[in-house]
């Protein structure tokens, strides 16, 4: 069986099957209700619940969700982003050059604190090293670190200081590179860059590519770098994205019922595929059989040694028990598919296509 060292460094020693399809999550996970309550208390100036209590509450939530991921059986875990509020805001608070002027509308009465870049961005305090070290210490399994990508950090901010968003994105990419170097020094082996903004502005794929070149610069080969791109018209960025210096693409395909799968089989998928197999936007837990079918869709694109399985997207908006149910069923489905692969019961279209092409 062909191996994939970069991915297989995360294979558990006690893995039950010969085949291994790495299971993980995209990142965010529903916060326990008590954590939101603790935040309210912390923000209430009249309450004695102080910064130390709030820090302890976040630590507890990180331990809890990391453990919940392990109980679901995931091979690589995340802390569910318990310390983060929102994917741009969290980082903007830690980067020099940003300021906040108040909430802006997304839709209806859903708002976010969209920051403004008012000066050249600069690296100040570390963004995620403490978070990583804490989670790695709490976890038995390897830990993945999701980071909002520079293109999204630029695109989802007001740009007051730079000539255009492209120039801002490149400066931010250099900061992301600096942060990843620190994370790697701290022991991180699996980094995921989140670029949801690329789905809405696919014409900018070359800018994201240049950002990733800067991010990957001087990062050791064996550190796994993934790129998560949310639902969008993937035909507008594929196959161009195959040139990006990343090991893995994490794609949202269950939400669209795999209608876009053809996009990825038209040109050979030369990277690892992290395939979304459960929908992050429906509150029903998909049955194991249904998820298995979705996993097999991935084998139409890549052979087993290059397949990673995850939910479509971050699951933070789902009820927590639904999120857990999806993770657990997802892992069970994957282990069953692995066993069927071991037994030779499943054809792997991606492999046979490639052999035919090689002939």
């Amino acid at each position: 069986m062909t191996t994939n060292e970069n991915r297989d460094q995360f294979r558990p020693e006690a893995h039950p099957n010969d085949h291994f399809l790495l299971t993980t999550v995209v990142g965010s996970y529903p916060k326990p209700k008590w954590l939101n309550r603790a935040k309210e208390l912390y923000e209430d100036p009249d309450h004695e619940f102080d910064a130390e209590d709030w820090a302890e509450a976040k630590d507890d939530a990180c331990r809890l969700i990391t453990d919940e991921h392990e109980r679901a059986g995931l091979d690589v875990v995340v802390d569910g982003e318990m310390r983060r509020n929102e994917m741009v805001e969290f980082f903007a608070h830690r980067i020099e050059g940003y300021e906040f002027n108040g909430p802006v509308k997304v839709w209806g009465h859903n708002y976010f604190d969209k920051p403004s870049v008012v000066d050249d961005v600069a690296y100040d305090e570390s963004w995620l090293v403490d978070e990583y070290e804490f989670t790695a210490d709490a976890a038995e399994r390897p830990v993945k670190v999701p980071i909002t990508g520079p293109y999204t950090l630029a695109n989802w901010s007001f740009n007051e200081a730079y000539e255009d968003d492209e120039a801002l994105a490149y400066d931010l990419a250099d900061l992301v590179n600096e942060e990843i170097e620190k994370l790697v020094d701290a022991g991180a082996r699996y980094i995921q860059i989140d670029e949801p903004a690329l789905a809405t502005t696919p014409d900018d794929h070359a800018i994201v590519g240049e950002c990733l070149e800067r991010i990957a610069d001087s990062i050791e080969e064996d550190v796994r770098i993934g790129l998560h791109v949310c639902y969008g018209d993937y035909s507008r960025i594929y196959p161009e994205i195959l040139d990006y210096p990343v090991d893995e693409f994490d794609l949202e395909l269950a939400n669209g019922d795999y209608e876009q799968l053809d996009v990825f089989t038209a040109d050979e998928f030369t990277k690892d595929l992290a395939l979304g197999v459960v929908d992050a936007h429906t509150a029903e837990v998909e049955p194991v059989e249904e998820i298995k079918e979705n996993v097999r869709k991935g084998l139409e694109v890549v052979p087993p040694e290059r397949l990673v399985i995850s939910p479509d997207c971050g699951v933070k908006l789902l009820p927590r028990e639904v999120a857990f149910g999806k993770m657990r069923n997802m892992v069970q489905a994957v282990r069953e598919v692995e066993a069927e692969l071991d037994a030779g019961e499943i054809a792997v279209p991606a492999t046979s296509q490639r052999s035919a092409a090689d002939d």
């Binding site: 002027n101 802006v104 509308k105 997304v106 839709w107 009465h109 708002y111 740009n159 007051e160 809405t200």
Partner: protein, 334 residues
């Protein structure tokens, strides 16, 4: 000498207290958005918010004061989203922005509603003169909606125009009507439909005894679309000089303009607040580049709606527009 008029295209952000109060009262889900028949508590909250944004405009010294369109949860799709014969479905993207609205699906005749007129009546109580109405232009509203009733693109466009004319006819006295037409840029009408647009716009414009400005934004109109639009019976066409000054200037140079003009010179989607001097330099730049620039009235405005901004920055933009025009007038006198 052109008469400079400081104004906005409306659709303001809610004051921060109203964001929290209304989200607590209404909720965060699709079904919680404005329906057009909200109860007294919600009405009261919106009344207080409206009063605040009207005061922001009058205190700043804007020449035209809008109602603010704070109830327009679905942005420009609002007049249809609250209509009885329209069903609202999934959340869809609002142009190229990171904003979403409920897709309005027209199921039956677009009869008179009166929702926008009621808002203007409320605003009129606080505005002595210079009240400005804001409506989506017929093409943009038809473009944002889905038709499951009229069955024909042209017929639907004119039905939407007739509906908007009915709404406009019920308005209290207004000085100006802005018809926002971003779809004319973002998804320009195909051949055939483009020649129907001026008639549809005229239908709405003729319903009010006021100056009418058709304001496209997010770039420049395709020249053919622009040439057609000049056939509409309106006082002014607007130009988004923030997004694309070259193409807009080209249209003006090649095809001329209406008697009045609206210049989108402040960025409605960026927190960087323009200096009044810089705004006036941009006005001069436009006029200096036109062979003939004898407009009766020149509206100075943000290029887009301002609900994209934090509330404090919206206030600053309103002040900047008003200050720019005040400064220009002082310089003329001196």
């Amino acid at each position: 000498m052109t008469d400079l008029v400081a104004t906005t295209p409306g659709l303001f952000p809610l004051p921060d207290w109203a964001k929290s109060e209304l989200s607590d009262r209404k909720g965060h889900q699709k079904g919680d958005l404005i329906s057009g028949d909200e109860g007294p508590e919600l009405q009261d909250a919106y009344d207080r918010a409206r009063t605040e944004v009207v005061d922001v405009q009058t205190d700043a010294g804007l020449d035209r004061v809008v109602e603010g369109q704070l109830r327009w949860d679905d942005m420009l799709a609002h007049p249809l989203a609250v209509h009885d014969n329209v069903e609202t479905r999934g959340i869809v993207r609002y142009y190229d922005n990171n904003n979403f609205y409920r897709e309005p699906v027209v199921q039956d005749d677009l009869t008179f509603d009166g929702d926008v007129a009621a808002e203007l009546d409320a605003a009129a109580e606080r505005v002595d003169d210079g009240l400005q109405a804001v409506l989506p232009g017929p093409y943009s509203l038809a473009d944002l909606a889905t038709d499951e009733h009229y069955g024909d693109e042209t017929e639907f466009l004119h039905a939407v125009a007739d509906f908007l004319a009915g709404e406009a006819d019920a308005f209290p006295d207004v000085e100006t009507l802005f018809l926002l037409e971003p779809s004319l840029v973002e998804s320009a009408p195909d051949e055939g439909l483009d020649s129907e647009v001026p008639e549809a716009v005229t239908t709405v414009a003729d319903a009010v005894d006021a100056d009418v400005v058709v304001h496209p934004y997010w770039g420049a109109l395709d020249e053919k679309v622009y040439a057609h639009l000049l056939d509409a019976d309106v006082n002014a066409v607007g130009f988004d000089f923030v997004s694309d000054h070259d193409a807009n200037l080209y249209n003006l140079q090649e095809y001329g303009a209406t008697d009045d003009i609206a210049l989108g010179l402040l960025d409605g989607q960026n927190t960087l607040v323009e200096e009044p001097e810089a705004i006036n330099e941009r006005v001069d730049w436009v006029f200096d580049n036109l062979p003939v620039a004898e407009f009766d009235t020149t509206y100075v405005t943000t290029n887009t709606e301002t609900f994209y901004l934090p509330y404090s920055k919206f206030e600053a933009k309103v002040e900047a527009a008003a200050d720019a025009v005040a400064l220009a007038e002082t310089e003329v006198q001196a």
